[in-house]
């Protein structure tokens, strides 16, 4: 127990980062499960992060209220984005949504309310570890509950074959919009928690690099189940610190060692476990 307390005292930030990254990976998994390669999660995260931070800083909203509104707005933006991209699929959808993310970032850079590139500082650090993990647990429970509904069936039908899904009465457009909005709401939660556990926001926090991180976490964990997303986020968040420890232990005093190991691990996981880490575990079970 003492060891655990000591570990937490030294690594609470890392623990929090894993929680937030896991929420982000889950948010992406929602649209991936509907077969929509929509890569705007970092943008939704950013919108929610700035909104909740501004609500706290300027309007002194309590944490939960600012999270709730940020989630709502983020879901709404996602639902609105679904309309113009309704005809796009696969890589086309991916690129359009990446473009949307870049546009959001440029706006965050140019607006004075976001502080532009100089950032927004002094955000209350009130998203503590319990808050973050209660949020993660709620998302996981909600997704699990949803997995037994008709909505989840429709989502899997849309992923498998949109045309055949229509032929059994699935409103494909509505399911796509709903899954994007649900992913947006979860990304909104992740963004708000990020803002309230990092003191400071800058538009660069929500660029293509962030999107890549979320995507990699989600895919190497395994898209199709919640545990996978959490595992993937855990691995991606821990990897820099694990490689740091390995580097210290082996005395591999070269700057590029950690980067190299990260790339090799990523490649190894994806080549030997294309269904993600959770897929490996499932196969054996």
């Amino acid at each position: 127990m003492n060891a655990l307390v000591d570990f937490y005292a030294k690594h609470s930030r890392l623990v929090d980062q894993i929680g937030v990254n896991a929420i982000m990976a889950l948010s992406l998994s929602v649209s991936l499960r509907a077969g929509q390669l929509a890569l705007a999660q970092a943008a939704f995260m950013g919108i929610a992060a700035y909104l909740s931070a501004i609500l706290s800083l300027n309007a002194h909203w309590p944490l939960l209220a600012s999270i709730a509104l940020a989630m709502l707005v983020s879901a709404l933006v996602a639902a609105l984005l679904a309309y113009p991209v309704r005809r796009l699929r696969g890589v086309f959808l991916a690129i359009a949504t990446i473009g949307f993310g870049e546009i959001v970032r440029v706006f965050a850079n140019n607006f004075s309310i976001t502080g532009g590139a100089e950032g927004l500082s002094g955000i209350p650090n009130d998203a503590t570890t319990p808050v973050i993990y209660v949020g993660l647990a709620l998302v996981a429970v909600a997704l699990f509950a949803l997995s037994r509904t008709k909505f989840a069936l429709a989502v899997s039908l849309v992923r498998e074959d949109e045309h055949a899904a229509r032929s059994v009465g699935v409103d494909v457009g509505a399911i796509r919009t709903l899954s994007l909005a649900l992913g947006g709401a979860i990304a909104g939660l992740g963004g708000a928690l990020y803002a309230h556990s990092n003191f400071f926001l800058t538009p660069a926090d929500f660029g293509f690099g962030r999107m890549e991180q979320i995507l990699v976490a989600c895919v190497i964990g395994g898209v199709t189940n919640a545990a996978g997303a959490v595992l993937g986020a855990g691995l991606i968040t821990l990897l820099p610190e694990i490689t740091r420890a390995v580097q210290a232990a082996t005395g591999a005093n070269v700057d590029f060692f950690r980067e190299l190991v990260t790339g090799v691990v990523l490649l190894g996981v994806i080549l030997f476990a294309p269904a993600g880490i959770s897929g490996l575990w499932r196969k054996r079970a």
């Binding site: 005809r87 949307f100 546009i103 440029v106 895919v219 294309p274």
Partner: protein, 293 residues
């Protein structure tokens, strides 16, 4: 000013186009986004720098670096894509493995070259003799870079149109199964596609390095995303489209700045791309039907 700006856009667009044709070729043939393309672009710039600093003449260094990039492309395919292709892993998983390869290439380059920006001994294009033409000015090296990019794209066009390899590539891009039935050696054709695409990407890297007299580990970052915009503008998988898209992007970027909107440059760029995708999901030259993920 506008004449000079259009010329600026033209020079910029030529390198964008050269980078994007390789990007789009791989997409056209394999339906995957190769996010390691920018890493190979960077590796080639460094290779050319090394060769040039050993006294190899620049045109020869360009050629050698492009060939090396092509070989890297073949290796990239064997390591990151071929095993997944054999398993029908879809479009998402190869995207991730290409990110993995990009990280590895970056780490190796960092190991070899460190973090410092590398400069060619001959100096950048801007330092070369200036040619005045009416109200516009450009340098001899800028002109040579522009002409090299155009020449390489013409060579690609010729390969695709007039050679047996080109016919195979087009057949595989059209319908992989049918091409195999017609006797096209799929793996060989895909390997050749990666060689061509990567050597063009590598040449774009060398020309970019020469143009700005700079090779850095992260020089591929900006062009990676802009390259996506280019291939979307032109229509994914369309080589003609990628060339047109490159020049359009160069023009949009330059004109956005010319009209005093530099702060909004990237929003305009991606906004144009987004609107075009919404209005015409297959791009300006794309004829392919939309694909599911």
């Amino acid at each position: 000013m506008i004449a000079q700006q259009l010329l600026n856009g033209l020079f910029l667009g030529a390198v964008y186009a050269l980078f994007a044709v390789g990007y789009t070729l791989v997409f056209g043939v394999l339906d995957i986004l190769n996010l390691a393309h920018a890493a190979i672009f960077t590796a080639a710039a460094f290779a050319a720098f090394s060769l040039a600093s050993m006294g190899v003449p620049i045109p020869l260094a360009l050629l050698a670096a492009a060939v090396m990039a092509g070989i890297m492309g073949i290796l990239l395919d064997r390591v990151a894509f071929a095993p997944l292709r054999a398993r029908n892993a879809g479009t998402l998983v190869p995207l991730i493995s290409s990110i993995g390869v990009a990280i590895v290439i970056g780490a190796v380059l960092r190991g070899i070259y460190g973090v410092d920006e590398r400069h060619f001994a001959i100096g950048g294009a801007a330092a070369a003799p200036v040619i005045h033409l009416g109200t516009v000015r450009f340098t001899t090296v800028e002109l040579l870079i522009f002409l090299s990019a155009i020449a390489l794209m013409l060579v690609l066009g010729w390969i695709l149109r007039a050679t047996a390899l080109g016919r195979s590539i087009r057949a595989v891009a059209e319908d992989r199964v049918a091409a195999a039935l017609l006797g096209v050696d799929l793996e060989r054709t895909i390997g050749a596609t990666f060689f061509i695409a990567s050597s063009l990407g590598g040449a774009a890297g060398v020309l970019t390095g020469l143009e700005y007299n700079s090779a850095t580990i992260d020089m591929g970052g900006p062009i990676e995303l802009k390259g996506l915009a280019v291939i979307i503008l032109g229509g994914m998988g369309s080589v003609t489209g990628a060339v047109a898209g490159g020049f359009i992007l160069g023009a949009v970027e330059t004109l956005a700045i010319a009209f005093g909107l530099s702060a909004w440059r990237d929003a305009i760029l991606f906004g144009v791309m987004f609107l075009l995708l919404v209005a015409r999901p297959t791009g300006l030259f794309g004829k392919r039907t939309l694909r599911a993920a």
